[in-house]
């Protein structure tokens, strides 16, 4: 029999820490700080709206690009939040989570050999999606001393004549790093200078703790060269609803709709109805969740400081990214021992790129009580490691 598989697909490396995940899932009594989704239930009024849509028999496809009502609300929301005006008819597509948006944006924009700049550490899908779209991923290792922000120098050094797209993953998973208006300004200059396009993954935009989130699309002349990706999973605690959206120039969105139409047809109808309610009436719920995350963030930073664990202060998402370099072990070794000895699961930084070596991703999508227990164990573990070393 012939090999049934595509070389392109088999060449994509499975996550190197698969083994670690398998062990975690076999330990039901372990405390996990490894979750990348909110601990809150979807606000009830949103769920209720989803249920109501089922009762009314809203069980059919919507138009490919999404419900008109929802697209209109998305435009109003983006105008209100990040001050960018999109036309709901031509510049918006509702997708199956932000992840689909990333995938189809890359597929719509790349030809074979086009280079995509991916600042790391970052979410795990950009790289394989680039490869699947025949692009060439070029990673930019970000540095802790810059609080894992992308600098203009790092960006410019990575650009070649083949560079076409820059991925901007901020607020960042796994580091929690954000890009402020001042941080973005020099990046915008370089993007324009080299005529690049940006895919800005702003899925954590609602979870910014240092002033409001700023979108790179809001800069003069940037809307024309940016695909803004966002969705409902993180800010509205709607991960399982699988709903996101992409906004950008008509010519790109049109092609994205084409791919989406053939691959997906449309995003889940009931999720779309529920999301209309999320954008219309849930400001208060979102604000409350944000405040709650922020309290936990402050708690973790305080605890790290107390136990002398180095960690830059992140102002976005729900992750902190402490350094474990002082212990002279790899992230994976640390995470494995921590799991075995203290039964707490954290994600090694290397899961998000090689430059995550020496760091851990700790999620604070957990109650303060859970965090307290886990941090107590971390302190015990850290003290033990330190006494072993001296």
């Amino acid at each position: 029999m012939r090999n049934p598989l595509s070389k392109k697909v088999t060449d994509i490396q499975p996550s190197g820490i698969r083994k670690f995940f398998d062990i975690v899932s076999e330990m039901p009594d372990a405390i996990s700080l490894g979750v990348g989704e909110p601990d809150f239930d979807t606000p009830w009024r949103i769920r209720e709206e989803g249920i109501y849509s089922l009762e009314r028999g809203k069980t059919f496809y919507t138009s490919n690009s999404g419900l008109k009502e929802l697209k209109t609300e998305i435009c109003k929301y983006l105008n209100r939040k990040v001050d960018v005006k999109y036309d709901y008819q031509n510049e918006v597509i509702v997708t199956v989570g932000g992840s689909e948006g990333i995938d189809i944006a890359l597929r719509a924009m790349l030809d074979a050999g086009d280079e995509v700049l991916i600042p790391q550490p970052c979410y795990v899908s950009y790289l394989p999606c680039t490869i699947l779209a025949d692009g060439v991923p070029v990673t930019i290792p970000l540095q802790e001393k810059n609080e894992f922000k992308l600098t203009a120098e790092e960006l410019e050094a990575a650009i070649t004549p083949k560079t076409k797209v820059l991925i901007m993953p901020f607020p960042n998973n796994p580091t929690g790093s954000i890009m402020t208006k001042e941080d973005l300004e020099p990046i915008v200059e370089i993007v324009k200078k080299y005529d690049l396009f940006v895919i800005s993954d702003e899925i954590y935009s609602e979870l910014s703790y240092q002033g409001d989130h700023v979108s790179i699309a809001s800069f003069e002349g940037m809307k024309e060269r940016t695909i803004l990706i966002n969705g409902f999973s993180k800010g509205f605690a709607m991960t399982g609803w699988r709903l996101g959206y992409a906004c950008g120039p008509k010519e790109i969105i049109e092609q994205m709709i084409k791919i989406h139409q053939f691959a997906i047809m449309c995003a889940p109808t009931n999720s779309q109805y529920a999301a209309v309610e999320a954008l219309r009436n849930c400001e208060e719920e979102v604000q409350e969740m944000r405040e709650s995350y922020n309290q936990r963030r402050r708690f973790l930073m305080h605890e790290f400081q107390r136990m002398g664990l180095q960690c830059f202060e992140p102002f976005g998402a729900f992750y902190v990214f402490p350094s474990i370099q002082e212990f002279g072990m790899t992230s994976e070794e640390f995470a494995m021992r921590f799991l075995e000895e203290e039964k707490v699961a954290v994600v090694p930084g290397t899961a998000f790129g090689d430059c995550g070596e020496g760091f851990l991703r700790i999620s604070y999508a957990y109650s303060i009580d859970d965090l307290k227990e886990a941090l107590g164990r971390l302190e015990k573990f850290v003290n033990r490691l330190r006494s072993e070393r001296c």
């Binding site: 490894g34 979750v35 796994p174 936990r296 402050r298 708690f299 998000f352 303060i368």
Partner: protein
């Protein structure tokens, strides 16, 4: 800051000042001063405990009593409300719009205590026209806290 403190202690009145200071990004003294000031101004009126008496194995009832009254000259409902709320067994008294005037709650009493209160204390009050007593059969949610058992989280332990 006040609003944030209030929001926090509304749900969790057992305040660890040090912890609250960390969570709100300020210092202990600020929190302590704000709380003291709000206690003085009676913004914070008390620190009560939400008890699920059923779970404690104590068989006590909670009664909601609708009371219709004749308001008194110059005093409106205040005088009659005072006569009722001064009884220590009364848990809460609200002036209500709609079909009746006062809502009186008695908590953690026996059936007999409630009926005695209604027949011997409440009904004989001159301005009381009528009462209707309701007993709570099951508390699902109280003070914003769901009391019925909730299933644990179904999140997967690790997601990227």
């Amino acid at each position: 800051m006040r609003k944030q403190i209030l929001k926090y202690i509304e749900k969790k009145s057992k305040v660890d000042l040090k912890e609250l200071a960390v969570l709100l990004g300020t210092d202990e003294v600020t929190i302590a001063n704000e709380i003291a000031e709000m206690e003085k101004q009676k913004i914070i009126c008390g620190y009560h405990t939400l008890i699920d008496w059923d779970k404690a194995g104590v068989e006590l009832v909670t009664a909601l009593i609708e009371v219709r009254v004749t308001p008194q000259r110059n005093q409106g409902f205040d005088r009659i409300a005072e006569r009722i709320y001064n009884y220590p067994e009364v848990n809460a008294v609200y002036l209500i719009s709609g079909g009746y005037d006062l809502l009186v709650t008695l908590e953690g009493k026996t059936l007999k205590e409630v009926s005695q209160f209604v027949s011997e204390k409440l009904s004989p009050v001159e301005s009381v026209i009528s009462t209707a007593t309701h007993f709570i059969l099951k508390k699902y949610k109280d003070h914003g806290t769901v009391l019925v058992k909730k299933s644990g989280s179904e999140r997967m332990p690790v997601t990227l």
